[in-house]
């Protein structure tokens, strides 16, 4: 075997090794597309973070709190609402309020599995088993209709210290009897807010209005009935005129 021959064999082997290395190395190149298609079909997105960011975060806040709508990351709210209700509201929206329907069957863009992911994962992330510390809250739905007359008294007892006499607001909290406000919120929305409070703003839940005296189901129903009775016939007139 001449030395020249062995050198050529060596360079051939070297070239082969380099080629193999190059091919293997190419798998790690930055331009190589990641696995799967670059853009997933919108109806096949099942990642909670993506779905929540795109569909919910604008009103309910980036991490489920801090938004203008009810905080979904509030363990008290999650303890009050069962999955069926959560799902129904997400899918069908709440007519007359700002909550739109998200299910395709109701004119939205999300599929049923996508809504399931939102409901399941919200609870998995944000619910806490001891959120109510053993107390049972008034039921989500009112058991019996409230009485507006009694509601006025309930209001003075539980709410007036922050919301002012007659609900017209004071420094700590704004008016809750404004016609336009009441016209854009549902009775159920009022009931939910009375029960769970507004944790972002420090408004207490049904247990905290008067220390040691949680509101009863009937008291909640009554105060909601009183609020509903304050809705004017023609809300939202910037220049109130005439008798």
């Amino acid at each position: 075997m001449s030395p020249w021959y062995s050198r050529s064999q060596f360079s051939l082997a070297l070239a082969e090794t380099l080629a193999v290395l190059a091919l293997v190395g190419c798998n790690g190149l930055p331009g190589r597309p990641g696995p799967g298609p670059e853009v997933v079909r919108p109806d096949e997105v099942l990642d909670f973070n993506t779905l929540y960011k795109q569909n919910c975060s604008a009103c309910h806040g980036a991490e489920g709190k801090g938004g203008a709508a009810v905080s979904l990351a509030d363990p008290v709210y999650l303890a009050l609402v069962d999955d069926a209700t959560f799902r129904r509201v997400t899918a069908n929206g709440v007519p007359g309020t700002a909550m739109p329907a998200f299910a395709r069957s109701a004119g939205g863009t999300l599929t049923d599995p996508q809504i399931d992911v939102l409901v399941r994962e919200s609870r998995a992330r944000w619910a806490k088993p001891d959120a109510l510390s053993g107390l049972s809250p008034p039921p989500y739905l009112a058991a019996s209709p409230g009485d507006a007359g009694r509601g006025a008294e309930v209001y003075e007892t539980f709410c007036a210290s922050c919301h002012g006499p007659g609900g017209k607001g004071r420094e700590k909290a704004g008016s809750i009897v404004d016609g336009s406000y009441l016209a854009t919120v549902s009775d159920q929305g009022l009931r939910t807010t009375v029960i769970v409070g507004v944790p972002d703003l420090g408004a207490p839940d049904w247990r905290g209005n008067l220390p040691g005296r949680p509101m009863t189901d009937q008291q909640v129903s009554d105060v909601v009935a009183w609020l509903a009775a304050q809705r004017p016939k023609f809300p939202g007139q910037p220049y109130p005129s005439g008798p």
Partner: protein, 674 residues
């Protein structure tokens, strides 16, 4: 006696040969031409539209607008999902419906319905329509296209089958003997200048002026090198690519993920395309600024203009072959532009699409254009371009004050190459080779680091959550179509290209003599700079599209928490109205949201509550009127929220007359009380 018979036999055999060849060519031409023109025949003979069911009436609740999908009645076997066509169904009352096409009446992009604000919005140029399909704002000149419908038992049936565009019925064909005579005289004129005979004798050793063996003269050869790269990579891609509407996207996925370095091949081809467009443009600017288009090289320039158009044609058809959502809707835009041609619009749309909708036949058409027709013409014209450069000689370095005169130029050039010339090989070519090598390395670098382009989502027209964008080189056009006043669009689209191309073609014949140096041609330099600034600005604008509504901002961009803290229940309600009514899609808060309308972070310092109410109710300029779409309490809540939007140290705008008006109102009210 024998001599003449021999000759006539030879002549007869030659005639026979021509006849046989011509006959076979004609036979081959019949099916090809027939197939190409079949959509036109179909259009004239029979209507593509037919009645299609959208399904049971119960799917469409009264008073609501819902998305429906139907299978286009005229399909080819390879249309795949492109034949699933979406549309919007509005159930007005018991037996009254409106069925709207998904395509925006502006350029055909998919419009989306927002029930909360009662508007259809287009993601591209911001066309907006009211619930009844009438135009609300933005560039569309008309309302949404409507399908005719009827009710069959419990089925909603619509008349559909063709891509809805502005085009009227088929127009008329043009033609004439005049054209033949004109072409003939043009041919004679061409031949005089081309001097095809004997050109090939010139070899690499032809002498070029020493001054032109410069680094400024390398862009043309680099463009040629990238073209060869495109041909080679293109052939390989064609081995895997399936030009079928149902399979093209999947075959690109195979290239990206399953074949060793398939993605690299795609990336090289994609970046090669960008580099080629750029190099051709730079080459053209260099030629123009160095006066190389002047006598006797006018025709080299003219051929170059066609090469530019074909390069852009390759770029567009290539983008279509990447058959993804952008490609699909890009074709819709092409069809929309075509449909604006008076009289012939419908014809041209059918010719472009190869059928009644964007589907398999469309892709096949663009495949043929991209792979056979345009490259074939490109190769031919590149050859011609090169021959002319060889025959006429490379432009000498322009010296200020050395004027071009038809009478003397050729002699002067000959003297120059003799006195101060060098052989092209090797004195000049080494720079070309090195620059071309660097360009190829740059293409490979981009391919390795940045990867291939797309494909983005599947070309399924029923996926309307998409925002179509053109590729880089057409971004300026995308910007222009957003910024032109609507009534100027059609004239601009139809007239400007004709004028632009006409000016380019005529340029060397209008200024074929005189000064070559850019130092003595200020208007030429300013024109180039102006065009570069315009195109650059439009391209830059189109990368962030301030005119496009952000379709997901209403549900995906949170209101900054500082705007919600210490606010009354009514003001917080207003923030919800702001989001739920899609105001955010056009108005930013805290740098998030659309830029179509002004950002509203400090709107309260600019508008009083009354002015805000008026703006919301009546709209103005590009803003739709929300008077019909918001209830009075919603407007009050919204305006209450907006009046809180002012910087901490700056008081909101105030109408001094308002308290007085309220007071007198109350006075009047109390005085009328008994």
């Amino acid at each position: 006696m024998s001599e003449p018979t021999k000759l006539s036999r030879r002549g007869a055999l030659m005639k026979l040969g021509i006849l046989i060849n011509g006959g076979i060519a004609a036979l081959l031409a019949v099916p090809i031409v027939g197939y190409l023109l079949s959509p036109l025949r179909g259009k004239a003979g029979q209507d593509h539209n037919t009645w299609v069911s959208l399904g049971s009436l119960s799917q469409f609740p009264e008073g609501q607008t819902r998305l429906a999908t139907f299978r286009n009645p005229f399909v080819s076997p390879w249309d795949g999902q492109t034949a699933d066509i979406p549309c919007w169904v509005r159930h007005v009352d018991s037996q009254t419906f409106q069925v709207f096409a998904i395509n925006c009446a502006h350029l055909g992009c998919p419009v989306r319905w927002f029930a909360q604000s009662g508007l259809f919005m287009c993601p591209c140029h911001g066309g907006a329509y009211y619930a009844d399909g009438s135009r609300a704002s933005g560039p569309p000149e008309r309302g949404l296209f409507k399908y005719a419908y009827r009710i069959d038992g419990d089925q909603l049936v619509i008349r559909a089958g063709e891509l809805p565009t502005l085009a009227a019925d088929a127009g008329t064909a043009a033609g004439g003997k005049e054209a033949m005579r004109w072409i003939k005289s043009l041919g004679e004129w061409l031949d005089q200048r081309l001097q095809l005979s004997g050109v090939i004798r010139e070899t690499a050793l032809h002498r070029v002026p020493r001054s032109s063996a410069s680094w400024w003269y390398v862009f043309g050869s680099a463009a040629l090198t990238v073209f060869i790269l495109q041909v080679v990579t293109g052939i390989f891609l064609a081995l895997v690519y399936v030009p079928s509407a149902g399979e093209a996207w999947n075959s690109l996925q195979t290239l990206n993920h399953d074949l060793a370095l398939g993605w690299f091949l795609r990336a090289m081809h994609g970046w090669g395309s960008n580099f080629m467009v750029a190099l051709v443009l730079i080459h053209m600017i260099q030629v123009f600024l160095f006066g190389a288009h002047k006598y006797p090289r006018e025709f080299t320039w003219t051929v170059g203009v066609f090469l530019l158009l074909m390069t852009l044609g390759m770029a567009f058809t290539g983008q279509v072959l990447r058959f993804d959502q952008d490609a699909y809707w890009g074709l819709g835009i092409g069809a929309s532009i075509m449909s604006r041609v008076p009289l012939m619009g419908g014809w041209l749309v059918s010719l472009l699409l190869g059928g009644p909708i964007i589907a398999g036949a469309t892709l096949s058409r663009f495949f043929a254009l991209h792979v056979f027709v345009i490259p074939g013409m490109l190769i031919g014209l590149v050859g011609l371009h090169l021959l002319m450069v060889l025959k006429l000689g490379i432009n000498e370095w322009p010296m200020p004050g050395r004027l071009v005169r038809r009478e003397t130029y050729l002699k002067e050039y000959e003297e120059l190459t003799h006195k101060d010339g060098v052989p092209f090989v090797p004195d000049a070519i080494w720079k070309d080779l090195i620059f071309a090598g660097c360009i190829l390395l740059a293409v490979a670098f981009c391919a390795v680091i940045l990867g291939p382009f797309g494909p983005t989502g599947q070309p399924d027209p029923t996926i309307i959550q998409t925002v179509p964008r053109p590729d880089f080189f057409f971004l300026w056009l995308y910007a222009l179509l957003s910024l032109l006043p609507p009534q100027l669009e059609t004239p601009f689209l139809l007239i400007a290209p004709v004028i632009g191309i006409g000016v380019l073609l005529l340029l060397p014949f209008l200024s074929g003599e005189g000064e070559k140096s850019w130092r003595r041609r200020p208007i030429a330099v300013l024109t180039v700079l102006l065009l570069a600034v315009i195109l650059g600005t439009f391209t830059k604008l189109a990368t962030y599209t301030p005119w496009s509504p952000q379709m997901n901002a209403w549900s995906g961009s949170p209101v900054p928490e500082r705007y919600l803290h210490d606010r009354s229940p009514l003001e917080r309600r207003g923030a919800l109205v702001f989001q739920a009514k899609q105001c955010r899609n056009c108005h930013a808060l805290g740098d998030e949201g659309g830029q179509r309308g002004p950002a509203l972070d400090a709107v309260a310092t600019r508008l009083t509550p009354d002015q805000l109410i008026r703006q919301v109710l009546q709209g103005r300029g590009n803003m739709p009127a929300y008077g019909k779409n918001l209830s009075p309490p919603e407007v009050t809540a919204l305006v209450a929220f907006l009046t809180t939007l002012h910087p901490a140290g700056q008081a909101p705008a105030r109408d001094a007359s308002r308290p007085g008006a309220l007071e007198s109102n109350e006075d009047r009210a109390s005085s009328t009380r008994p």
